[in-house]
Amino acid sequence: MKTILTVDDSRTMREMLRRALQDSGFNVVQAEDGVHGIEVLQGIDPDVIITDVNMPRMDGLQFIEEVRADRERRAIPILVLTTESDAEKKARARAAGATGWIVKPFDPVKLIDAINRVAA
């Protein structure tokens, strides 16, 4: 079973992701922000990471940079959640090393498609 790490400060969004992902047979691990995400990554090796951008303590962009700088974790595909198809935000996410993105509110089918597109 593939494990997905979701990093989002919104409980609502975490729950929606969890539901959609578990319904599609993924194992879901949740983190509340970038700092928490980094902590969680010490203990698991997810197949894909889905992260929000705007978060307290450590935002999604910095989180991605930290993951990409980690030799052990750098190859994990990371999908960014964006609220709109904001080109600037996507560009910044790409620059930080995001593999792809998911537009909120997400269509569960597209979510799974996006994951399958990046998951090894």
Partner: protein
């Protein structure tokens, strides 16, 4: 509750938290205490609400949040200065946002004019800046979720993921595409893989893949993280070009990509210069090769590629046969369904949690059980004493330790329910804004001690009296700006709300720097309404406290607020119902301060255990002023069946508790009993005559209403050390029934529910 409803509930819970954060942040900005984090947090709050609202199709909320967010973004990026005017617009926008959330949750409608007005105001704040992307709010009208930002020069490149009906794009037939794809190192650095992309392409139809290895340098020159391969995919597919392009959605900036539709089938030809063996290998990708495809071929050209393996992503794709890909996925899903319980456990287990959310019922059950434990421990101790065991015996010592532990457990359990008063204080800024608006006054709110903790039941019931007192402070305390200026004060009045712990109780002070109580007016009203005799001699303090008398109301001017019919007597009553007290201190011209003190919990109560007519009763300690032994000269008959007692020159009713509660027909002998001097809710004093006093004790409050109902004169019940139920006297009712305020029924204490 189904899953979606649960998430919806979570969303609204979270909204409440974010609205609180939003307001707190804006207030911090207003008072100049904000830093960049504050602005970010404020932005994030609105952003999160918008995100969740979108998921539930709450369009009004999404739309407003979007406009709000756009303006906040200006603030965040320093394109808009946080002047007082700007922050005040945002505070009002926060109020509207809160209303929209409420309506989204509970139904109903919002003030559309107000909402529209604020949308305009918010837009105006952005519109005022010419260099800002002024079109953003406008774009939101078209569709807030997918609105592309205008003017960032990337429109041509940006792929807007809208669902496309492919049938419109095609003529029903198969199209041929030539996809030329040369990844750059960045593509791999972002954990994308060319093999996966190629596989996805081939999944759309059928085709051939050729690889250009000409750029692979000598091993010594090879950057393990470089990208040296280029691919050409000749694809025949029924899918439209957008579907093909979507595959490369994430990578188009990190590769050279061209997707051309080929009309002439003869154009399907392999590029020159491709190593035939690699071409053959890659061709197997399309041809449904088996697992052998995972094994790199041992041939020379591939060997170079294989050596790249540590930087695997760069050049050694591990493609799975496209045709088989969906099958294992399905199998995984089936397996996952069976293990979904484990998945949840794993998800929960791996997230380190500093806090847990517990159903309140469980905590209450625990509190009940600990209450039981305390009772049984006391019973056990009493039995041991009765059995004549020495205090120094092992059993007695062990029991002492048990008692210690039991108390500690009780304290710890009570602490679980303790919450900071912040949740109540959070609602005050909005209240102050609104009341100030209505009354035409300028008021600044200062809150202190918002982290002071108190039991949840107290928190829940703190809000109403606090609201009334703040309303009162603004309505009657703080003067209008012109009056203030005339009095040599600043135009803006201050209302300060402070919470603190003091001798085992929580004390909340509500003070204003207004005009203070006009004692002449208060006295005159009290006399006019017959609340006090015209010649009553009252201290300043006593005069001030007249405002708490039932029937007193200083409605000199009928404002929108005082029309609500809430007098300070009701406030005092509700505070006393919580086992609390309230008082006022005022200085003419300088302001007033209300002080209310409440028990930290409604689950236990300090009581005096008394006997009356063979029964044991509990009198709440908060109501008791003193106890005394009546002397013959002090007790007088009054009317046909009443008695009065004289205490230091004042006569007050002597209430025969046993008779009042129907325990006894004949009057209790006043001289052999004890008089407990109590103060009722209206400040009136009386003396409760009981047979004797057994002691003082903290008792666990038990609801009578849960299984029975309200009993006049009884506030609640408790369980004593002998396991029997004892009733807690509702002092207000018991005292009042022998007075003229017969219609005065107390709401009584309630056990923690």
């Amino acid at each position: 509750m189904d899953a979606m409803a649960e998430i919806r509930a979570t969303f609204f819970e979270e909204c409440a938290e974010q609205l609180a954060e939003l307001e707190a942040g804006l207030l911090a900005i207003e008072s100049g205490e904000a830093d960049a984090d504050t602005v970010n947090a404020v932005f994030r709050a609105v952003h999160s609400i918008k995100g969740g609202a979108g998921a539930f199709n709450l369009d009004d909320l999404v739309h407003f949040a979007h406009v709000f967010e756009t303006t906040l973004d200006e603030l965040r990026s320093n394109r808009l200065e946080a002047t007082l005017d700007v922050v005040r617009v945002m505070l009002r926008a926060a109020d509207v946002l809160a209303d929209l959330v409420t309506v989204a949750r509970d139904g109903g409608s919002v003030d559309a004019v107000r909402t529209r007005g604020l949308v305009e105001e918010l837009k105006a704040l952005v519109g005022g800046k010419k260099d800002a992307p002024a079109a953003a709010p406008a774009a939101s009208d078209d569709g807030p979720i997918f609105a592309p930002m205008v003017g960032d020069g990337m429109d041509g490149l940006d792929f807007v993921p809208v669902s496309v009906d492919l049938s419109d794009m095609m003529d029903g037939g198969e199209s041929r595409y030539r996809i030329q794809f040369r990844p750059r190192a960045e593509l791999y650095a972002k954990a994308n893989e060319s093999a996966r992309l190629i596989r996805e392409c081939l999944a759309l139809g059928s085709g051939e893949v050729t690889c250009d290895t000409s750029a692979i340098p000598l091993l010594t020159d090879l950057d393990p993280e470089g990208a040296y391969l280029a691919w050409t995919i000749e694809l025949a597919s029924e899918a439209g070009e957008p579907a093909v392009r979507e595959i490369f959605e994430f990578v188009e900036w990190d590769c050279d990509l061209s997707i051309d539709r080929i009309l002439d089938a003869s154009a399907m030809a392999a590029d020159d210069g491709v190593d035939p063996e690699i071409a053959a290998l890659l061709a197997r990708l399309a041809g449904g090769a088996d697992a052998a495809a995972d094994e790199p071929a041992a041939d020379a050209p591939m060997a170079e590629v294989v050596e790249l393996k540590p930087a695997a992503a760069a050049a050694a794709p591990k493609p799975a046969p496209a045709a088989e890909a969906p099958a294992p996925r399905k199998a995984e899903r089936a397996a996952a369904a069976a293990e979904s319980g484990d998945a949840k456990a794993a998800a929960a287990g791996s997230a380190p949690a500093a806090t847990i959310r517990v159903d309140l019922e469980r905590v209450d059950r625990l509190i009940d059980l600990v209450g039981e434990l305390v009772i049984h421990q006391v019973m056990l101790s009493q039995r041991v004493m009765q059995a004549g065991l020495a205090r120094a015996s092992d059993v007695a010592v062990g029991l002492d330790e048990l008692e210690q532990l039991t108390r500690e457990i009780q304290d710890s359990v009570m602490a679980i329910r303790a919450q900071p008063v912040k949740s109540v204080f959070q609602k005050l800024p909005r209240l102050v804004r609104e009341v100030a608006d209505i009354t035409g006054k300028q008021v600044r709110l200062i809150t202190e001690g918002e982290w002071t903790e108190v039991d949840k039941t107290v928190i829940e019931r703190l809000s109403d009296p606090l609201t009334h007192m703040i309303r009162n402070a603004i309505d009657h305390g703080v003067e209008r700006p012109e009056k203030r200026v005339a009095a040599g004060k600043g135009e803006e009045g201050t209302v300060r709300v402070a919470a603190m712990h003091r001798s085992g109780r929580i004390v909340i002070e509500i003070s204003d720097d207004g005009a203070g109580i006009n004692r002449q007016v208060v006295r005159k009203i009290a006399v006019d309404k017959g609340l006090i005799p015209a010649d009553a001699s009252l201290s300043d303090e006593e005069t001030d406290n007249l405002i708490f008398l039932p029937g007193f109301s200083t409605k000199e001017e009928v404002s929108e607020l005082s029309g609500r019919g809430v007098g300070m007597d009701v406030v005092k009553r509700s505070i006393q119902a919580l086992g609390g007290r309230v008082s006022i201190a005022s200085k003419p011209g300088e302001g007033s301060m209300f002080t209310m003190s409440l028990p930290l919990t409604l689950a236990v109560l300090d009581g005096m255990i008394v006997s009356a007519g063979d029964h044991t009763l509990v009198v709440p300690l908060t109501a008791i002023i003193e106890t005394l032994k009546p002397k013959p000269a002090e007790v007088r008959g009054f009317g046909n069946d009443q008695r009065l007692i004289e205490v230091r020159g004042n006569f007050m009713p002597l209430v025969d508790v046993a008779r009042q509660l129907g325990y006894r027909e004949e009057p209790t002998d006043a001289l052999s009993g004890v008089a407990i001097l109590v103060e009722a809710e209206n400040g009136a004093r009386s003396a409760l005559l009981v047979d004797g006093i057994q002691g003082q004790r903290q008792v666990v409050i038990k609801s009578l209403e849960a299984n029975y109902g309200r009993v006049p004169g009884v506030a609640a019940a408790t369980i004593l050390g002998d396991g029997r139920v004892a009733l807690i006297i509702d002092v207000d009712v018991v005292a009042a029934t022998s007075r003229f305020e017969q219609n005065y029924f107390s709401s009584g204490l309630q056990a923690a529910e």
